[in-house]
């Protein structure tokens, strides 16, 4: 019995290896970007993000030559406390550190039985001592990238540094107003919300009515109208962009929130109606029959019965539409453009104009992903359900 269990484990080993490997491949690119977004800009451009897992410069050398007497944190010998910035200040470069290492202390060589390290090694040790004592204040991680991205800072230093020295560009105020800077991701985040929330609510509202009619009302042409709707689901966006942007130009709707709300509503409807009808149509018929027998009107059945019962489907639909609109680039590019830049538009712009501004790009990308990720983790159940309803469930 026990042997059986072991051999079962073993036969499952390739399964674990392949699966974990695939998961690693899937995760690593995102983790790399997340780590990079918190690194100082000089570090990003000189070393790969994976080097943050390596020990700091001089760590090995310090361990070999110094740690046995001075201790891991340098404070073991109180008369020569290496964590004391004032002391290390005098030995911060190899040129002053080397004589000290070759000196005799109380008639014994400083290094004891160990050889005096060579120039390069000493320099590394000095670098590590600077870190240890706190003279070297550069950090591994910073929030500057996020601040710079949110405020739309485009200078050579950082937003905080410029504001501290008063050398910020003319369009920055160095206070809360900078979050509304049209170049910044803070403003873009608000614009994305302004686009997405109505573009989620409208189609859900309108599709609920239509789906109810398709499910529980009798009318001529119901079958073929619905078949037409199924066909409309796959019409590519590209097919409709040109005439609609011409129409919007005539109506003055190009570059307005109202225009993009309308477009997203129109394009979200076929799928929304399809999905809601599938859900409403699968509710037990007796429920509606007894409601009608009790004298309920369609309006009552719709508001008091159909809507409350379809909350899970509405949730799935809302998540889908929300993510679709939030993540959309093409529609925002065509109908909003630079008037009210949304997150995707702003990032797309940064990619083409900044080239290798990775510190801003990585932070900006994560600002745009944070809300979808929260929704995904919090409401995964509904997300998966909506996805299955769209393509498999009939």
């Amino acid at each position: 019995m026990k042997k059986n269990a072991v051999s079962k484990r073993l036969s499952n080993l390739p399964v674990h290896v392949i699966l974990i490997l695939l998961c690693a491949i899937w995760l690593i690119p995102t983790i790399g970007l997340l780590i990079t977004s918190f690194r100082p800009v000089q570090d990003i451009n000189t070393t790969g993000w994976w080097t943050i897992f390596a020990k700091p410069q001089g760590y090995e050398e310090y361990q070999t030559y110094c740690a046995s007497c001075h201790g891991e944190d340098g404070s073991l010998i109180s008369s020569a406390d290496l964590s004391d910035a004032d002391l290390v200040q005098d030995y911060r470069r190899s040129i002053t550190l080397t004589p000290s290492l070759s000196r005799e202390i109380d008639g014994e060589p400083h290094m004891g039985d160990l050889p005096v390290p060579d120039e390069d090694t000493t320099a590394s040790i000095a670098a590590y001592m600077r870190k240890l004592s706190g003279i070297d204040t550069t950090t591994k991680f910073t929030l500057d990238n996020y601040i710079d991205a949110l405020t739309g800072y485009r200078g050579n230093k950082t937003y905080r540094a410029d504001c501290a020295s008063g050398t910020q560009s003319l369009d920055l105020h160095c206070d809360i107003r900078d979050l509304a800077n049209p170049r910044g991701m803070g403003r873009a985040f608000l614009n994305s919300l302004a686009v997405t929330i109505p573009s989620t609510i409208f189609p859900i509202l309108i599709s609920s009515f239509a789906a109810y009619a398709f499910s529980w009302m009798d009318f001529k042409g119901r079958q073929w109208l619905f078949a037409l709707l199924v066909g409309l689901q796959v019409v590519p966006l590209q097919m409709t962009l040109i005439p609609v942007s011409r129409l919007f130009a005539q109506l003055g709707l190009n570059g307005t929130f109202q225009g993009i709300w309308l477009f997203h509503t129109g394009f979200g409807l076929p799928y929304a109606i399809y999905m809601m009808r599938n859900f409403l149509g699968s509710l037990p018929r007796e429920l509606f029959e007894s409601a009608y027998l009790d004298g309920a009107s369609h309006w009552t059945a719709f508001t008091k019965l159909a809507i409350p019962l379809s909350v899970p489907a509405l949730a799935s639909l809302a998540i889908f539409q929300f993510l679709w609109v939030w993540n959309d680039l093409l529609v925002a590019l065509v109908f909003l453009g630079g008037e009210h830049p949304v997150l995707t538009y702003q990032i797309g712009n940064m990619v083409t104009s900044l080239g290798s501004g990775w510190h801003l790009l990585t932070a900006a990308a994560f600002i745009s992903m944070i809300l979808p990720m929260i929704i995904f983790f919090a409401l995964q159940k509904y997300f998966v359900r909506g996805l299955l309803a769209g393509s498999v469930k009939g």
Binding site: V15, H16, I18, L19, L22, C23, W26, L27, P29, T30, L33, N45, G48, F209, A210, A213, M217, F219, A227, V230, G231, L232, V235, P236, Q238, M239, T240, P243, V244, L247, L262, T265, G266, F267, P270, R277, G281, R285, L293, H298, F302, L330, L333, T344, I347, G348, V351, T352, W358, T362, A365, S368, P372, M373, F376, Q380, L387, L388, V392, G394
Partner: protein
């Protein structure tokens, strides 16, 4: 759909249309009318003042009223786009479906199934633009000693020469497709996993009792049983891939030989201001998609009959 609603539910003939009207109006304005208008525009010159034949040049090939289609079918850049879209379809569809199936099958056997699935599924939640940034960083090419892009760091660590993944014509389309696969495998996996759970255990057990090994069980029983789902996933993916735009737009802008149909349409319309050609490309796209649309409707009707 309830094929016959009971008499008790009958209503005034106008009522259903009251419920349907807002949806029908909006869909007509934003999908049906623009669709038809696009077909018309594709036969017109860029200024929409004359038929497309007017833009023909003496002594050069001319398709008359279908002049814009001559461009859409025969221009070098469009042929690159066709070729690339074909590569996209072949590699991305087979890649996402095969990987999705593999992960669905493997995850079914382990305790951390939901965690593994979440990880694979997560890219579905983020935008193509975000994914574009993530992968542009992975593909980053440093001309100097230091490689800050993961892929080139791995290549150089293994002793190879760093590659400029996004500008090198032999590999760049593949590099873009990898991003697509990374994003859409979760979709395929979720659908296929749901179908796998529906395969009857009794049939599988019966086959095993009859002496079939796991490999045979998978190919002879599981695959045929989930075939309908595979077909649905494949058609959905083909439609998605045909419309692929954001990844290319963000990562290469269609340069270096990575052009695709949807990006070309955008360029013709909003960079070259040529609605005629852009519309012709859009019509081409829908023509390619129509067979899949019909499949969709057929499948839907079959499902209705089974209810």
């Amino acid at each position: 759909m309830a094929n016959s609603t009971p008499g008790i539910m009958r209503q005034k003939p106008i009522t259903p249309w009251m419920y349907l009207l807002p949806a029908l109006i909006i869909m007509t304005v934003f999908i049906v009318y623009p669709g038809i208008n696009t077909v018309y525009l594709s036969l017109r010159n860029p200024e929409n003042t004359d038929w497309a034949g007017a833009r023909c040049i003496e002594g050069q090939p001319c398709w008359g009223i279908f002049e814009n289609y001559r461009y859409a079918f025969t221009s070098t850049v469009m042929q690159t786009a066709f070729r690339n879209n074909l590569i996209w379809i072949i590699i991305m569809v087979s890649g996402t479906v095969a990987l999705g199936l593999l992960i669905a099958v493997l995850a079914d056997k382990v305790k951390y199934e939901s965690v593994a699935k979440s990880i694979i599924f997560l890219p579905m939640a983020i935008s193509f633009v975000g994914a574009g940034v993530i992968w542009k960083f992975v593909y980053n090419y440093g001309s100097g000693q230091v490689q800050i892009g993961l892929l080139n760091a791995v290549v150089t660590a293994l002793g190879g020469q760093p590659v400029s993944w996004l500008t090198e014509p032999r590999v760049n389309t593949i590099a873009l497709i990898v991003v697509g696969i990374w994003m859409w495998t979760g979709f395929c996996m979720t659908n296929l996993a749901a179908a796998l759970k529906g395969v009857s255990d009794e049939i599988l057990e019966a086959a095993r009792v009859d002496g079939a090994n796991e490999w045979q069980v998978f190919w002879k029983i599981t695959i045929p049983q989930i075939m309908p789902t595979i077909v649905v996933v494949v058609t959905t993916m083909v439609i998605n891939v045909l419309k692929i735009f954001d990844i290319v737009y963000v990562m290469t802008g269609g340069n270096y030989g990575t052009e695709v149909i949807a990006n070309r349409m955008y360029v013709e319309m909003y960079k070259n201001y040529d609605p005629g050609r852009a519309s012709a490309i859009a019509v081409l796209l829908i023509i390619i998609i129509i067979p899949f649309m019909i499949m969709n409707i057929r499948r839907f009707q079959k499902q209705e009959e089974m209810r």
